[in-house]
Structures are given as C-alpha cells and as structure tokens.
Symmetry: D2
Subunit: 434 residues, 4 copies
C-alpha cells in the first residue's frame, strides 16, 4: 500500500535539505546510555491520524483520505488499520493510542458496537504482532455521542451513566486484549455548563464510584497497567472537573484512588489552565504521579485547545528536563495528540507534522541531557537551597522546629541577606545549549 | 473627628436619590428569620481603607489622606486607628481584617516592629471594646519587604524562612489578643518566578512544615479559631502554589492539614484562575471547607487582580446562593478586599465604594433567598438527578455497583433519552428575581 | 404547523410565573415616544434557529429538528422556511438575517446552487409578503466549504477568489430581491493561520478590490442599503484581518470605503478582541459608522465565541445607552446571533432563549432611557469636561492653540487640582436603575 | 568608576562558558554586507537601567543601586548619568532612550523641573560627545505624576492638558538639543477607566490637536526626526486608545497625521493586544509605518506587561525576518524596554539580562538572513500567490475586474483545487535554521 507519498523517513542529519527526513531524531542513537527511541517512546494518535477530517466549528472537513469511503462500516474501519500501520511504519513510531469509537464504529446498539470493536481489535492484534508496535493506552470515547452531552460518569441521568460503564468495561477489555500498557480517562464532558442545573457534589461522587468500578474490573480481568487521568480545563464543558494536575490529585486523594492512577499531562491543556507545561509535569512528578505525556503545543494567544504539533525546541527541552529528572518514562510515552492545521489537508502533511514533532523532541532530549551533564544549572539550584541542609534549615526539614525556634534564630541573626535569583543568567545558560 | 465628609450612612430605600445612603442594605431587616447584618457579616479591610495610596506600576499614590503625615511612626499608626474606626462607624461595618504591617510600621529590627505592633494592638483593643467591632481575621504581611522577594515560607533561604516564622508567631499572638475570629494565610510570594532556579518539592514541604508549626503554636497560645488559606494564581509570583481552591485542598490533604484549615475565597482570584466565583465557592463548600469570603470583583478583560468593589448584583446573588445553601457563614464574613480606582482619590470615594458593595450584597441576599423560597430552581435540580434516587442509580450511590451491573442494565434498557438541560430557561428564571 | 410547543408568546408583566411569556418586552409600549419594537428591531438568525445542530468540536449535533429530513434537498430547505416563520411569528420578531447557504443548499456547481437559492428566495418573498417580516440583512457563507479553507476574498488562489465573487454577486441579488435593508460582510476566514506562508499586504489589497467590486455591483443592481463589516478576532483564522472596530475603520479609511460601509458590532467578538461591547459600539458610533448589532453574550472566562443569549441586563443597558445616545438604529437592528447550549436540545429551548434575550433588551432599553431622563449621569460627564468649554480649553478645541500657549498658561496657573473621577458613585447610580 | 562588576563584555563565541561574554553578538561581524551593530541598533532604556527599583504592586524596590542616594536632587541625577554611560560602554550599546522624568527630577513647579532637565541634558550631551553614543529617542513622562491620573492629552481637565503640552514642548527641545533621532509618544494614561464618566470623542479630538501642536512645534525648533506612536492595550488605563497598530493607524489616518508619525512596536504590547509581534510589525511595515522597536518579551500566561528580556530565539528570528524584508531600520532601533525580574536585584543582573537579549537578536539576525538567502521559504510564498500574477488574478490586482467577470470565470472553470498551506513543513523549515 502507498497512501503516504514517501518512503520510510530516515535520519539524514542537520546538513540535509530533504524535508522528508529526520535532522535530529536517530532512533538508536544513545543519549546518556539509552537510545532515543527508548527515551522518547513516541506514540501515534489514531484519532488525529486516521479520523480527524480537519473540520472546525465554521466549516466541514478538508482532509484528503483517499482510503476512506466515508461509511461507518466495519470494512472501512479495517481498511483504516492498514493505512495507520503504513503511517507508523514510515514514521518509525512504535506505540499508538486509541479511543474505542475511533477504531470501530458506534452502531445501533451496544452489542453491535462491541462486536464491531472486537473485529477491529482482532486485526490490530495481528498488526501489532506483525510489526512489534505496541498499544501505549486505550480509552473510551464518552463525549461525542449525544447521549453524553451532559456528561458520562457525571451525567445527571443514571441510564447514561450505566451506558458509559458498559462502554468502558468493553474498552478496558479491548485494551487488555491488545496488551495495552495503560488505560486513560480523559475528562470528556465530565464537568458542567452552568451551576444553575448542577449538583457538583453528587456528580463528583458518581465519578469516583465509576473509577472504583474500573479498578475492580481491572482486577477481575487481570489488567494491571496504570490508569491515567488527563487534566484539561474549559473544553468541552465550560467547567471541567479535572481542570489541572492539582485538581486531579485533589480528587484522587479525596476518593482514595492515588494507588492505581497516574496523570497524563498535555501541553495545551496545561496552558489553557494557566500553567506552563513544565509546571504541570513537575506537580505530577513531585507527587510520584507523572505517568504519560500528550505531546503537542498550544497557541497562547488563542483561547482553546489548538493541538498543534510540538515544534518548539525550548518547550521540548523543558519537558525532557522534567522527564530525565524523574528517571524517564516507564509505562507511558510521548503521544502526539496533535493535528495539522485545517489548511494542511494532504496525507503528506501528516508526515511533515510528525517529523517536526519528533525532531523537536530529539533536540529537546539532547539539550536536556547536555544541560544535566554540564551541571551548572543543577548546581545552582542545589546551592540556592543549601541553607536548608544544615542548622535551622535542617531542623525545619526534620519536622522538629517550632515558631519559638524560628523567633529565637531571627533574634540572634537579624536581617537576612538574600541572594539574587539570577533568572536572566540561567535563561542565558539554557540558551547556550539550544 | 470628621475625616469622611458625611454622616453615618442610613438606609433610605430605593426611592432615595441620596448617593450617600443605602438603598437596599438595612442592617436589622430580617431575611429568612436572620438579620441582614448577621447574614452578611461585612468586614472592612485595613489595608485598602487606610493604607492603599492608589499607586500603580505606572505612577505614584493619588489618595488624599489628610490625617496621615506620611511617616512610619507609631504615632501616625495610632492616628490611623481613629480614622479607621470613624469609617467603620459611618458605614455600619462591624468586622475588620488586617495585616500586621498595615496597622503598625515595619521598623529596623523584629523587636522594634513587634513593640510597635503591641502599641497599636492595645489601641485597637480599646476601640473594639468601645464600639463592639470585632476582628474577623488577622494576618502577617510576608510579601512587601524585599527579604521576602523570593518567598517567605517557601524562600530558598532558611534565614528568611525563620524571619517569616517569627513574624507569623507575633501576628497570631496579636490576633489572639484581639479575640480575632480567624487567622489567614494568603499565599503572598509563595510560588516561583522560574522553575530554572526552583526546587518546587522542597519549597512546598517547607510550607507544610511552616503551617504545622502554626497549628502547634495556636494550641500553645489557646487560639482556636480557624486558619484560612486564600487561593490566588499568578500574582505576585508568576506561579503561586495556592493557585485555586482545588490546589489548596490538594495541598492540605497531602500534608494532613484539613482539620485546622478552611478556605477564604476571593472573587477576583477565582476569575484569574479561570473559574467563576460560584465554582470556587462550591468546590470549597462541597469539601466542608468554605470559611470566609473576600468580596470584590475583577475585570475579566484585564489580566490582573483589579480588586474592584463588588457592585454586580448577579454575582452577589450567585455568592449568596452558595452561602445560603451551606447554611450561612459562621466564623467567616464578607471582607471587602476591594479598592477604589486610582482616579477616585477623595476620602468620600471610599464611602461611595463601600455603599455600592454593601447594597449589592443586600440585593444578592434578598434575591438568593427569594429564589430558594420559590423552589422552582431547586426542584429542577433535584428532579434532574432523580434517576440516582432509585434502582441502578441508587445502587451506584450505595457503592455496591459494578461494571457488569451497568452493562447488564444497558443491555436491558437500551439507548437512554436525555432531558434538556434548560440552561436558558433557568437563566431567565434567575432574571425574574433580579 | 406546530413545531414549537407553545402559543404566540405574550407580554404578561413581571408578576407572571409563566416561563413562556415576556415579563418586560411589550412590543407596542412606548419608551420616550417610540415603541419598544421600533427601538429594538429584533431579528432572528436563520443559521442558529434553523441550521445549528449544536454540534461542537467534541461531538455531533444534539438539536431535535423533527421537521428536517437531514438532506440537502431544496424541498427540505423549503420546509425549513415554514418552520422559521412559525418561530418568528410566535416570538413576535419582525426581522431576520441569513447566509445564502443556510437558506438553500450548496450543490454540485455554482449554477445548481444559485438555482436552489432562487427557489428558496421566492418562498421567502412570499412569506415576507404574508407576514410583514423584513430581511434585516443577507450575507454569503464564504467560510464553510473546503474551497474557502484559506480564505475567500483573501485566498491565495485567484480561482477561489473568483468563486467567492460569483457567490457574493448572487447573494447580493437575492438580498435585493427580498428588499433586504442591508448586506453584511463578516470576515469568515479572511485572515491567516501563519505568517510563514502569507503575504498579508497582497491579501488585504485583494479584499479591498473585492469590496469595491461589491460597491460597483450594488450600483448596477440598484441596491442602496448599507454594507456592514463585522469585526471579529481569532476565529476561525488565528489572525482575522477585521479583528476589531478600529482595525475595520483603518482598513475602510485606507481603501476609501468609508462612504458605503458601516459596522455590525457583536458582543462576543468585542470581548474576544479584549474590548467591552460598549467600547466597540462607541468607537463605531463616534466615527458615524455604527450600523447594526449582533446581540449575544460571551463567557469571558472562555476563549472562544460562545454566542450565548444576551441575558445580562447590565450589558443590555450599556448597549442601549450608546444606541439612544446616537439617536437610535435606522437600517440596522438587534440580530440574535446567539445559540442555545448544546444540552438545550429541544425546539422549545429556542423559545426560552429568545424570550430571555428580548426581555433583557427590553429592560436595558427602559433602564437606559430612565438614566438619560434622570440626567445625573449625563450632567456629570458634561461637567467633567467643562474646562474645555472656555478659555484655554476652548482654544484647544478651536485648533488655534500652540505648545507655547499651553506653556504660558501653565506658567501662569501652576499645578492643576484634579477632580475625582467618581467611578464608584456612578456605578452605584446605574445600579439604582437596575 | 566601577559599578558593574565586570569588564567590557567581549564576543567569545559559542564555545565560551563565560556567562559574562557574548556567544553570538559580534558587533562588527558582517551579515549580508552590513555589520551586526548597524542591523540591530541596540538601545538602552534609561528608565529600566537606572530608575527601575524593581518594586511591584505587592512590594517595594529590591534593586541594589549603590550609586544612588535615593534623593530627587540634580546631583543624584547627574551621578546616574555616569553610571549609565559606564553600563552602555561595558555592553557596547551605542543608542539610548529616556523619559524626561527619568533623567531629571520632577520638582515643585514646571520651571524648576525644566531647569533641572537642562542641567542633566548638558551632561548627557557631554557624554554623548565623549563616547559617540546617540539618543535614539526622547519622550515625556505623562503618566506617573498624580496630575495625570486621568490622562494628559486626553485629560478631562484643560489645566492638566496645558501642563502636558508645556512638558512635551520642553522634552522635544531637550531631544533636539541632544540630536535625538526621534521622539516618542507612548499612550501613558491616554484612555479611560470607565465609559460612565468619559466622553471618548472629545478626548480623542483633544489628543489629535495635541499631536498637531507637536508637529507645529517641531517645525519651529527644527526637529525633523520622526514622531513615534507606541501601541499598547489595557495598561495603565483599562482602555488605552492606542491599543494596537491598527488602532493607531486608524487614528493617524482620521486626523491626518500619517506623514509625520511612525509606529514603535513592542513585543509585550502586541501580545497583550492578542496579536503576535510579527503581526504587529507586519501591519506597521505594510503601511510604511514601522519606525522603531521596543524589544522585550511577555509571558502569555500572565495578563500584564512583564517586560522580560527578549531571550527567545524564535521570536527574535520572526522580528528580524520582518525588519530585513522592509530593508532594515533607519532612524529607529531595538530598544530594550525590558527589566530584570524582581529577584535579580544586583547590578550584574542588568549585564546578564542585556547579554541575553543581544545574543538572542544576534542569532535572530543570522537565522533570518540565512532563511532569506536559502529562498525556500520566500519562494513558497511567491508561488502560493502566483495565480494573481496572471489572467483573472492579474485583472483583480489591476483594479479592472467586476463580479460579472468573476462569475463568468467561475462558470467556465468550475470548482477550484486548493493547494495545501504546508504550515507544518514551513515550521520545520524554520527549525532547520535555529
């Protein structure tokens, strides 16, 4: 098959002028003793690559998909699987992610939809075996169908809630069947449009009950990969319950779900929440809860999730600094939850887009590794907090200190002399490596 | 004394054209069996009323303060106390709030500053006794002095941390001395400017240790009012740790501080965090953690804390709907953390500003009460969730349900029919009462 | 026919508890000697009422449209006309607006589409004659079809540009046929996604040439109503050329188009551009260029055009203050470019939504009129600028003043004493009338 | 003198680990036949370097200024001049900019302030002669003094307006005395806080009259450099009249001021207005109105002007692409209107900060030049519009085309085939050069 008008993309280095080559991503090149591909664990998103027709609220789809007959048939769904694996192969991407309704159609009733899913999953399993590609995570689409217009696990209607539970049950089983490394819960429409018609407490209690059922079901079917929660604010519900990493952690702590869940952090969701990506990653990592990453980029002048490809080298560097600091990703990866602009409507634009993202993260990885090896940045930070390594600072960290101790110390030592934070110098230092 | 060119502001009702009267706030009028003043518990903010010179980043102070000699003397501080109580008396406001450094000057060393504070506290105590005014809460200013430029309880420097501890110790003791009903921790500069120079984990651990010391010290001195944490994002640090209600709750849960703390929610902080005020209030209330309110209003087209007076009747209604739903404020109140515009530089503008806020909340209270008495809104919400009162929904709420149960239910019941959310009808209903 | 489950909506006054009645909008009631309906000139938007299926980027349509067979047939289009006029009749709305592709389908080629349009226009003409309803304005949809993905009059492709010209020609002729009072150019995709592939100068030159052709064509066909330009930023193109009122005026001035064009100002577009609605209205009115209004409301915490119904009484008051100040709308009106929330999926929700908007504007009109009659607000403003009515101020206004004059005046008069801006007092004054 | 603890900063190239060296900026290195310093024309901002104490709305100044006695004396002002020229010399910066009140104190009356200004100007003139440093532009501070709290040239008070005129007259004369290359009008407080108390039309008329007086006065004193208007939204007035480039151009066109004025575009002002820097630069350049640049960077997650140093290489590249396209800056330059973070309080932090900005722009210049030499990007854009070089497209550009022509063309040619916009490929192409 040849739906993407190119050969397998090769690493050609920075001197190449070939737009269809990697300038930086060299899968087996070692960085700090580990190959780039093992560091980065790139994943393709089935929904953007195969199902995003590039429609927007002001116009219909523009994407050319010569392989797709536009129908909801299982045959059409099976055809897409071949095209998708052609794409992964040409890009050298070894992981992927899906929503149940991306890979197989939603049909007239639950049983029919589940049967269709089984057929596609069987083909995916064959393709995985053929190619060695792995499923990074699966998830259920609980937001597109009109039944979910008012939420799924937070729907005010118990009938909808039940439907969502049945759908997730099946999606978890499909993930298990495909040896998925994880299973993701993105908030979808779990939130509200107006408090006037909403009982927030009851909705969140229901959500927690739902997730506990998922934990129980995983045990039953022997799925022991992590569950991921993916924070996102404002879209599609005006108020999403999982608005940022802290909101998710608060919820997981309140409802005793910390053990089984990790966070899947996405760049554009972070910025919509008013945070930097490195902030959200660090909040998650500090709690031991950073599981996986949705790699994309937003436009901070635009107020919605633009899901652009992550071509910003500085941003990729920040992400990889956090990932290297935590010792690398384990079950998770870098999933390109990113789409081409609507004007980039040819299949080859998908190739350009992924090259850009992969090269940017390859550079980010190399730069972050070099910054860490250089040690100047890390040493600066260690030194900045060194007063907490001894004396009164150490006493504070030991949990043995009181306000009386602090008062006595201050009376004895007087006004502190504060050192410069040197932000500009440190920004220059990072620029040295870019 | 007569620094505010008006008599005590009287309730004159809606037919009055006198700008210096209340049209709606009638302190002793009963609403639902409780007086307006007991519902609303208005507090004056010492910092805005007495110390805000209305400077901004582009220009110096404009506020006329004929009583103030501009010095940092204790005498000047004592004079301000009289003026402040004149203001409270004329407004009929019975609570107030302060930062230690608003009421008394920061002098050359900690001992001198503490001694100055003692003198002002003694006078405040006398005035409280004379007038019956109560201290809603006290707090320490841990953000203005250059020593705190990189944080106080999250400073990278243990010497600064110690100074902050000593200062809070004294501020808590002053609060106790004045029979303060609560003590507030606003984040101040607890956050960071750049992750490049920051160890976020270590800083937050230090903050938790600090608050545990506060809990211990309260026990020692017999202060048993609540501690309040006040969420705020982005200001003054680019990233504030206490960015919103969920972030605060997550922190309090992680560090086992839920028992002793409550949240103090401010309107403009909520909107800067990308939430509505009613969202933040509800998040806090649902966790049993809504303690007090900083009543003001932001300009959502402007990206910083404008601290405008809360004159929006719709907003006041939303606030009071949450407050009435939770059964009313107990130790907390409605503190006007609000300032006049820089162009409103006369003392009388303070009077106009507070009249506007008090009248708006009086209307909000009456409207919210009427909406609740009418029951149409509340009944709509109850009905909307009624499928969880019985059958499969009740099973979900009991914690006894599994995904298999939900699947079986869906197979038996098929596609749900979703009812309209009726947002527009409900918005019209609220408008009926405005 | 009876697609909307209600009788004609009646004015029942504020004591009515009937959700399907007007509490404030009383069409023939006089306000300042003119009927409410002549002040407000409400228009229904064909696209939202008949064609918006309430899909969003995360899910398909939810709107129940039992009259619509889902096809692109002319028959279906003709059926919708009847339903639309039932709606207008029940609401008592006497104007409407359309895009060509809302009222009739886009078919395989331009001729077929034009022929379909002719058939629907003929029926609309009949319905107009039957009912007395008038066309406030027509416009061409130059943004939905994939051919326009990179713009229409600013497309980089001359073939697309030509297609757009042909389409506008026809839409103008249809507007003329229906005695439309105006014709609107909303920016659609006239803008760009990235400057990397864009020649902004050339695109804007092309746009100006296009509008000059429209002016010429209007002359040819005898259409002498105003053309409206509708400012909007950020959507659907990342950068829209007509981003706000000032950008539109700058363009119209540069290309000598001021005579024939006016602005159509929309609330949610104003706020997305970082302005208040009253700012944009005033900018347009001051230039003598305020033509018509798209009445809706945004959610300033959300970064896109939410097109909510304008139920905010304070906002409606601000709008009507500007409209009354300029002497009222003439050819233009208040077009409800507003949609129900996706969860409000029943036809009756359209009725609730429009009731809310019409009642809010009725209140805004009455309040604005009362504020103007009261004169306190207007007198305050006149007085504030009174130093420009005489002496050096009058000399400035006469254009006879020089910097030497100002210097001499200042040397003679010394430091000015500035009066308070009294913003808080004025906000309270407005609240008196709400 | 030695207030900055470093020698003159040298170019040491990318292999240097010396934080106090340029890695990229090599003043005399030729890029496209012109030296870096002639391309970039860096200017130091007197206000940030000498007068910014790094206070913020939540706390006082932190900046260490051992040379400054904190007084408003002329002697202190003269001392600062020496320190400033030490800084420029060490940085190798050959231009500078000032506000009148930065370089000399505002004293009790206008005459005293003017006399103080004369003394400092005399010293600046000597230093310019000694060093060859040039004044890029001067301006008057019309926003800090309380008299200007409600605007200067748009003040409602003619006395304030007169004072502003007198002050600008003097500042223009000082600029002339120092052979200033230009004179800038930044909007300051020319705008409003609330429309309730504002006559926008009258204010803007007054502003135009003011600028015409400036034009007349320039003629009188023989100052023939350009006047610059600097767009900025939201700060310090809630609504600034000069909100973005288009608003400024609209104003200049309306009041017949295009000939004598150019725009001074600042990065952070562009982003606060919802535009990219390259958008604003291009709007100005397309109108032949790009005069000068205030080089800094904002934080798009933060809602105010953070004035950070421009260390983003991608951004510097975008700026230089526009500047090279327009043929380079002539009278204008790149003025670092940027400040250190409040935590970077030592004098040496000023040096780090400017090194970062200068190196980033040196890289931006080299990269932009290389992209232009490479031609792939420019050729892509030319090709994209090539259908307007011939046939119907050329007819459009000639102004000879009508809607009938476009209709006939479309009927003959049918549905256009649109080419991909290739945004992702072009973003990758730019990344090749970073």
């Amino acid at each position: 098959m040849q739906y993407f008008d190119c050969d397998k993309i090769q690493f050609e280095g920075t001197s190449s002028k070939n737009a269809l080559s990697f300038k930086h991503y060299n899968a087996d090149e070692l960085v700090g003793g580990k190959s780039m591909k093992d560091h980065l664990r790139f994943a393709g998103a089935y929904w953007h690559i195969m199902r995003n027709d590039l429609s927007d609220p002001f116009g219909g789809g523009t994407a050319q998909m010569p392989w797709d007959d536009g129908s909801d048939s299982v045959e059409n769904a099976l055809t897409r699987v071949d095209v998708f694996f052609e794409f992964l192969d040409k890009m050298g991407i070894e992981y992927y992610c899906w929503h149940d309704r991306d890979i197989a159609p939603e049909l007239n009733d639950l049983s029919a939809s589940s049967a269709a899913l089984d057929k596609v999953v069987a083909k995916l399993k064959d393709k995985q075996n053929e190619t060695g590609v792995k499923l990074l995570w699966g998830t259920a689409c609980l937001f597109s169908h009109p039944r979910y217009s008012q939420g799924a696990a937070t729907s005010p209607d118990a009938n909808v809630y039940a439907y969502a539970g049945a759908q997730v049950k099946k999606a978890m089983e499909a993930t298990k069947e495909l040896d998925g490394l994880g299973y993701t819960f993105w908030g979808g429409r779990e939130g509200y449009s107006t408090l006037l018609n909403t009982n927030m407490k009851r909705e969140i209690d229901h959500l927690a009950a739902f997730l506990h059922m998922a934990v129980d079901h995983a045990k039953k079917i022997g799925f022991d990969g992590p569950f991921y929660i993916e924070p996102k604010p404002r879209e599609p519900s005006t108020h999403q319950y999982d608005s940022d990493a802290a909101a998710c952690l608060n919820f997981l702590r309140e409802y005793d779900l910390m053990d089984r869940f990790r966070l899947n952090i996405e760049t554009n969701h972070a910025t919509l929440a008013g945070h930097t990506m490195e902030h959200e990653l660090t909040v998650a990592a500090n709690a031991g809860m950073l599981g996986s990453i949705d790699a994309n980029r937003g436009d901070t002048l635009i107020g919605w999730d633009t899901d652009q490809f992550p071509t910003d080298i500085h941003l990729a560097t920040q992400v990889m600094l956090v990932v290297l600091e935590m010792g690398g990703l384990t079950t998770g990866g870098l999933n390109f939850d990113a789409k081409r602009r609507r004007e980039s409507h040819e299949p080859i634009d998908l190739v350009h887009a992924h090259i850009g993202g992969m090269d940017a993260f390859a550079r980010g990885l190399k730069i972050a590794h070099a910054i860490r090896e250089d040690r100047r940045l890390l040493n600066f930070v260690d030194e900045r907090y060194s007063s907490f390594d001894k004396d009164i600072g150490a006493k504070v960290e030991s949990g043995q200190c009181s306000f009386e101790d602090l008062e006595a110390f201050t009376q004895a030592n007087g006004e502190p002399t504060v050192a410069s934070g040197r932000q500009e110098m440190l920004e220059n230092l990072v620029n040295e490596f870019l």
